[in-house]
Each structure stands twice: as structure tokens, then as C-alpha cells.
């Protein structure tokens, strides 16, 4: 399992020309129905076929009783297996005879189900190997590939298209990450639940993602790691080409040997795993949200070249708390350079903070925020910007809309103005980030409190992630900086 699988073999799994669902059911509660339904409803343009024992038609797709009855000209790369474990070996043989080169096996009853299951899994792996079939699962939730509209899964939601690739040892975390992706509007390229990972494990998927042009960052959930050293070697190579965010469940069974050595005793818990991640430049996230935040930041922001952060805020308190968070991190709150202070003085009345955080203190006029974001981000001593306050004007717009004086022509005019302004601010943040290659992170609780607010909506429209809090933005930015610093120190960036 530690030798690499050539990336072209994953094409059949993630970009199949056609898909066969084996074990289609008529019953909308069964996996065999759901899998076919999902495959037919998210824009997949390849041919779709199904087998079931009764024949007939399900969701407009004619069913065949066995693989041999499929049309002779059918071009099928992937079989999505919802049949009982006992029938799968015969199924794989028949599929291989029809040119199928990948199987996603959802069936349970394998290694997770005791000794007999373990033996059956061993046979399935050997058979797939002999037949030249890339075997995903068994006991997996499914596979998603947004560039081709492939939604071959049985539980999780379908995410928007994007640059995050997900591999998980738990199907439910695929679901969690895809739910976050939907809410955030920061999309997914590929997603796969590794299931029992009998033949293809998380490191194999990661190596594919590293070569995948649709993917900018990988996001994985792991529990048990079979061969830690091989994981380290392979993950380090992957992280060299693209960021890799890891959420790890369970504490490693490190050597809590009853040894004479203090070092051994201190190696207990996951201190070794943590050090391994630092060494391999794996971004280790502390929670599910932090994992998604980091992945979304990598997917939508350039990497910082240094630790110096400027905070631009429309309100004092937000800036103070954000500065505190930066102080506790490996980032630095930039001491405001004199020339930048002078330049801001020209644009704001004297009550602004005159330091970093750059608190506008309500002194802004129509064009101040876009101008300031541009000015601050372009300053050579600024490595990254956190912008707080987008959506605040649209908050008032919402009150006007919802109030009893609505509709009213003058209210409508001001509402449109507020919403247009917030959209401009979001756009300005994205534009200057693009122009300078520096990260500019936007954070507001409106991203979750009122996702339809024009501010977060406009941030999403720029393709960026609107962080739900400044704390989470700073945490994610710290991950970007650590990743970048690791590369800079080693001459890789």
C-alpha cells in the first residue's frame, strides 16, 4: 500500500466516461436508488447504467439483470457497487470483461465485520488487482467530482465546484466538509470516502490530488494510520506541491512503554504526530471548523510572504480583539509605518486610530474603504490584511427593508446604496489581493448570522471565503503563514 498508484488510474474513478450502478433499487430509501438518483441529478454527462434483479426501469434508466446484458457499445469506466458483499467478486469479473477499470464499493460486510469479512476483503483486493480495477472502499460513502458533475454518493450533500479535494476515513466527515463548502460557497474539486481503504488509502488519494489541476488544497480526515513512516514520507511529498490540511481523530497509540526513558513517556499522546506534521509541512487543524477554514483559506487566498498583518476595521472593538488574537499567534501585528500613517491621515479625519489596527472610527466616506484597502495592502511592509466590517451597512439596509415604512422610494435608494457599497468593499478586498498576491481576509459573523447580507454575499461572489469571525480568519492566516514559512526557509518558495 505504500507504493504509489499512477495518477492516470484515478481518471476512471473521478472522470469516468460512463458509470454502472450495480444493485439499483426501486425503493427511494435504499442506497441503490439514492446512488442512481444522485448520479442523474447533478449534471453528470456520461452514460449511466444500472443493474437490478427485476430488470425494468428506474428513474428512466433501463435496468439490466446482469452486466452481460449491457449494450455492446456502452463505455463504462466506473462501477458503483451497492450489491451484497457475497456477489461482488462475480460482479467485478463481469465488469472487468466490459472494460471497467474502477470500482467504488459501498457494500458493508468486509473487514469491519470480523474475520470472514476480512478474508472476503482480502479476496476482493487480490481480484481487483488481478483484473486491473482501481478499488475504492469497501464500506465507503461515495465519490464526488464536480468538474464532471459526478455525484456518486449515498449520504453527503453535493458541493459547489471549487479547488478543495477531500479524502476521509469517515464518510460522515466528507458530508461535514461538503456542508461547510455549500454554506461558504467555497467549493470542492473531488471528494472521496476511503471506507475500509482496502486497496486505495488516504495517501494514495492525496498523491492523485497533488497532480490534479482542479485541486489547490487537500483536506483529509484520518484516524488510524497503518504505516506512520510511509504516511510521513508520502504526505511530505504531497505537501511540497500543494497544501495538505489534516484533521486527526483519536490519540496515536505511541509507545507508552513502561520504559526507563523520559523521552518515551513524553512521546505518549500525539506529540510525535504533531511534530511529524510540522516537519512534513502538513497543516494540522484543531477542529472540524478549523480544518475547513484552513482549506478554504488555502483554496481562495494567495500565500503570505511574511508574518506582518494589518487590520482594517470600521469599529474599534473588533480591531482590538483581533489584535489580541494576532498577538497570541505566530503572526505579527505590523507597527504602522510612518509613510502609511501619513497617507491615511490624508484620507481620514484625525479621530482614526493612527495605528494598527487601522480603525476608521466612522470617519469614512464613500470611497475611503476601497482606497484604504488598496493603500494598506500595497504597502511593502504589509504581508497580509484582515478586513473587518463588511456588511455592516447592509445590516441597516435590512432593517429598512423589514420595517413598516417599506417600500418607500427614498428608503429604496439608500438600501441600494448600502448594499452596493458592501459589494464594492468585498470586491476591493479581492481585487487588491489579486493584484498584489497578498492575502486579504474578510471576516464578519454575518457570514453565518445573515448569509444573504450583501457583504458576505459579495465576498462569496468574488470566489473568496467570508470568515465567520476574526478569530477564525487569524487562525487560518496563521496556517497559511506556517505553510509559506516552511517553504521559504527551505528555498521552495
Amino acid at each position: 500500500m505504500s507504493s504509489s498508484i499512477p495518477p492516470e488510474r484515478f481518471r476512471a474513478l473521478f472522470e469516468p466516461r460512463g458509470v454502472l450502478v450495480a444493485g439499483v433499487s426501486n425503493h427511494p430509501a435504499k442506497f441503490g436508488f439514492v446512488a442512481l438518483h444522485n448520479l442523474l441529478t447533478q449534471g453528470y454527462e456520461g452514460q449511466v447504467f444500472g443493474t437490478n434483479l427485476e430488470g425494468g426501469e428506474v428513474l428512466g434508466i433501463p435496468m439490466v439483470r446482469s452486466v452481460d446484458e449491457l449494450p455492446a457499445d456502452a463505455e463504462i469506466d466506473l462501477v458503483f457497487v451497492c450489491t451484497p458483499a457475497s456477489t461482488n467478486e462475480e460482479l467485478l469479473r463481469a465488469c472487468a470483461a466490459r472494460g471497467v477499470t474502477a470500482a467504488f464499493v459501498t457494500s458493508a460486510g468486509y473487514a469491519e465485520a470480523g474475520d470472514d469479512g476480512r478474508r472476503a476483503e482480502g479476496r476482493l483486493v487480490a481480484l481487483a488487482d488481478e483484473l486491473g480495477i482501481l478499488l475504492a472502499g469497501p464500506n465507503g460513502q461515495g465519490v464526488v467530482s464536480t468538474p464532471v458533475g459526478l455525484c456518486a454518493q449515498i449520504v453527503a450533500p453535493y458541493p459547489p465546484r471549487g479547488a478543495i479535494a477531500i479524502a476521509s476515513q469517515s464518510g460522515n466527515f466528507v458530508s461535514s466538509f461538503q456542508n461547510y463548502a455549500r454554506a461558504a460557497g467555497v467549493g470542492v474539486s473531488r471528494a472521496v470516502s476511503a471506507g475500509n481503504a482496502a486497496a486505495v488509502g488516504v495517501p494514495d488519494y492525496l498523491e492523485y490530488f497533488a497532480t490534479d489541476a482542479e485541486t489547490r488544497v487537500s483536506l483529509v480526515y484520518v484516524e488510524g494510520i497503518v504505516d506512520g513512516r510511509a504516511f510521513f514520507d508520502r504526505a511530505r511529498e504531497v505537501a511540497r506541491s500543494k497544501p495538505l490540511v489534516v484533521l486527526k481523530g483519536g490519540t496515536t497509540e505511541s509507545g507508552r512503554r513502561a520504559a526507563a526513558s523520559h523521552t518515551g513517556a513524553l512521546a505518549a499522546d500525539d506529540a510525535v504526530f504533531d511534530g511529524m506534521c510540522r516537519q512534513a509541512n502538513i497543516t494540522r487543524a484543531a477542529s472540524v471548523e478549523a480544518a475547513f477554514d484552513a482549506a478554504a483559506a488555502f483554496a481562495t487566498q494567495p500565500l503570505p510572504r511574511g508574518p506582518r498583518v494589518a487590520v482594517v476595521t470600521t469599529a474599534g472593538g473588533w480591531g482590538v480583539v483581533t489584535a489580541d488574537t494576532i498577538a497570541r499567534s505566530e503572526l505579527e501585528l505590523l507597527a504602522l509605518p510612518d509613510d502609511l500613517r501619513a497617507a491615511i491621515d490624508e484620507r481620514l479625519p484625525p479621530r482614526w486610530s493612527r495605528n494598527n489596527p487601522i480603525d476608521l472610527a466612522g470617519g469614512e466616506t464613500r470611497d475611503t474603504i476601497p482606497e484604504l484597502l488598496d493603500l494598506v495592502t500595497r504597502h511593502p511592509e504589509v504581508d497580509a490584511v484582515v478586513y473587518l466590517g463588511v456588511g455592516i451597512q447592509s445590516n441597516q439596509a435590512r432593517l429598512l427593508r423589514d420595517g413598516r415604512f417599506w417600500p418607500n422610494e427614498s428608503l429604496e435608494r439608500i438600501v441600494a446604496y448600502h448594499e452596493r457599497q458592501d459589494a464594492r468593499f468585498a470586491q476591493a478586498a479581492a481585487d487588491v489581493s489579486e493584484a498584489t498576491g497578498k492575502p486579504v481576509l474578510t471576516a464578519t459573523e454575518l457570514a453565518v448570522a445573515d448569509p444573504d447580507n450583501a457583504g458576505p454575499r459579495a465576498v462569496r461572489a468574488t470566489g473568496r471565503y467570508c470568515f465567520p469571525s476574526a478569530q477564525r480568519a487569524v487562525d487560518a492566516l496563521e496556517h497559511l503563514w506556517r505553510y509559506s514559512r516552511h517553504r521559504i526557509r527551505r528555498g521552495l518558495a
Binding site: 494510520i225 504505516d227 506512520g228 513512516r229 510521513f232 496515536t252 497509540e253 505511541s254 509507545g255 520504559a259 526507563a260 526513558s261 523520559h262 523521552t263 518515551g264 513517556a265 513524553l266 512521546a267 506529540a271 510525535v272 504526530f273 504533531d274 511534530g275 511529524m276 510540522r278 516537519q279 516552511h486 526557509r489 527551505r490
Partner: protein
């Protein structure tokens, strides 16, 4: 099964990899201990050493800051009397008392999942309770070593503090690299503890005590 090397054997192995260890004499009786102390210069440390002795401090087998021949003779006599049958062959170790207030711990551990790894942490008798440590998998580069040192929460100890110079990072990195090399080249070494690795007043690291465990 594994066995532990005596403190002098452990230090000899570490020294052969270039890890600075305190100069010391191994003697078998109290008179010779006093003679060794005069040669090394006072004050000195006297310890009971033996291949089967692992936790000296816990057993009261370390006497610090002895300033005269009389003190050394008395300490050596008491330590030899404190030896237990299970300690096997024992000897008395005499070493100069190195001045320094900052204790680190460094070591090697073979993790069942990740193999040989190198550790650095805040050391001393409370090392396990403090548990401020960082690991990397061997082999490590200079940059890896620098970064693992930077991972420690107790950074203030490494700066200049209470009249003591800032830690000599080049030497500290050298110690970690040496442990990495040792772990790589010596498959039979199961674990290494260097505790304390003292930072002297000039910030230079020096191993005051060490324990190497080898496959029997």
C-alpha cells in the same frame, strides 16, 4: 529485551557523536573520589553510577556542589553504602559542578508508528510534569532542529535571562542533529535521555546526565 548503559558509557557514546558532556572521573572508592575532585577543581558533583541504576535523583544518588575533599569523601562513602544488590557493579562518578540555571531535556525515542524520533523539551526533574516538548522524525535537518526548538512554549528560557546568556542555538542544533545521526546509525539504540542538558551561563549546552537504552 533491552538494557541500559551506565552513565559514563552513555556519555561516552554521546561524546563520540560530538555531544558536549561534562568532564568526569570514574573511581571505585572515597579516597580516589577526593583525589579526582582536587584534580578537576572544586566545587564538584558526586554520583553513584552503574548499568542498572536509572533514576538517580529519585533515589538520592546525586550530591551537588561539594566544595572540599572532606565533603567529597563523606558523600562517596554514603553513596557506595546506598548501593543495592540489584544495582550490580557500581562506581563513583566525580564531575565539576557546572553553573547554570536552565535545564533542557533532549532524547531519542523509537515510535512504533513513526520510527526514530528526536525530542527537545524543557528539562530537569519536572520535565514530564511540564511536558513542554517537541518531536521530529529522524533524520532531521538544521532547519528542522531550529523549528522544533522554536515549537517550545518556554522560549523565554532560551533567551538571555537572569544574567545568563541566550542559548547557543548553533550548538543546540548540533546536539539535536547528533542525536538524529546516532539514531539513524545505531539501530540497537532503543532510547536516549539526556536530562538535564544544561545551558551554562554562556548559553552553551552540556549534558550533565544521560541514559542510553540498547537492545540486549
Amino acid at each position: 529485551m533491552s538494557r541500559t548503559l551506565s552513565e559514563p558509557e552513555s556519555k561516552a557514546l554521546l561524546a563520540s557523536y560530538g555531544i558536549p558532556c561534562v568532564a568526569e572521573r570514574i573511581v571505585s572508592d572515597a579516597g580516589a573520589a577526593a583525589a579526582a575532585a582536587s584534580e578537576l577543581g572544586y566545587p564538584v558533583v558526586v554520583k553513584l553510577a552503574g548499568g542498572a541504576i536509572t533514576h538517580k535523583t529519585e533515589r538520592g544518588l546525586v550530591r551537588l556542589d561539594l566544595a572540599t575533599a572532606e565533603e567529597v569523601t563523606a558523600a562517596a562513602t554514603e553513596l557506595l553504602a546506598a548501593a543495592r544488590p540489584e544495582d550490580g557493579e557500581v562506581s563513583v562518578l566525580v564531575a565539576p559542578m557546572i553553573r547554570g540555571i536552565r535545564e533542557l531535556i533532549v532524547g531519542v525515542h523509537r515510535d512504533p508508528q513513526f520510527g526514530a524520533c528526536v525530542m527537545v523539551g524543557i528539562g530537569g526533574v519536572l520535565a514530564e510534569a511540564i511536558a513542554d516538548v517537541a518531536f521530529r522524525l529522524a533524520p532531521i535537518s538544521d532547519i528542522d532542529a531550529e523549528e522544533m526548538i522554536a515549537d517550545l512554549a518556554g522560549q523565554a528560557l532560551l533567551g538571555s535571562v537572569r544574567g545568563q546568556a541566550a542559548a547557543d542555538m548553533t550548538s543546540l542544533v548540533g546536539v539535536l542533529r547528533a542525536l538524529s545521526r546516532l539514531a539513524d546509525e545505531r539501530d540497537d539504540v532503543v532510547s536516549i535521555d539526556v536530562n538535564p542538558l544544561l545551558l551554562d551561563m554562556h548559553g552553551a549546552p552540556i549534558a550533565l546526565d544521560a541514559l542510553v537504552e540498547t537492545a540486549a
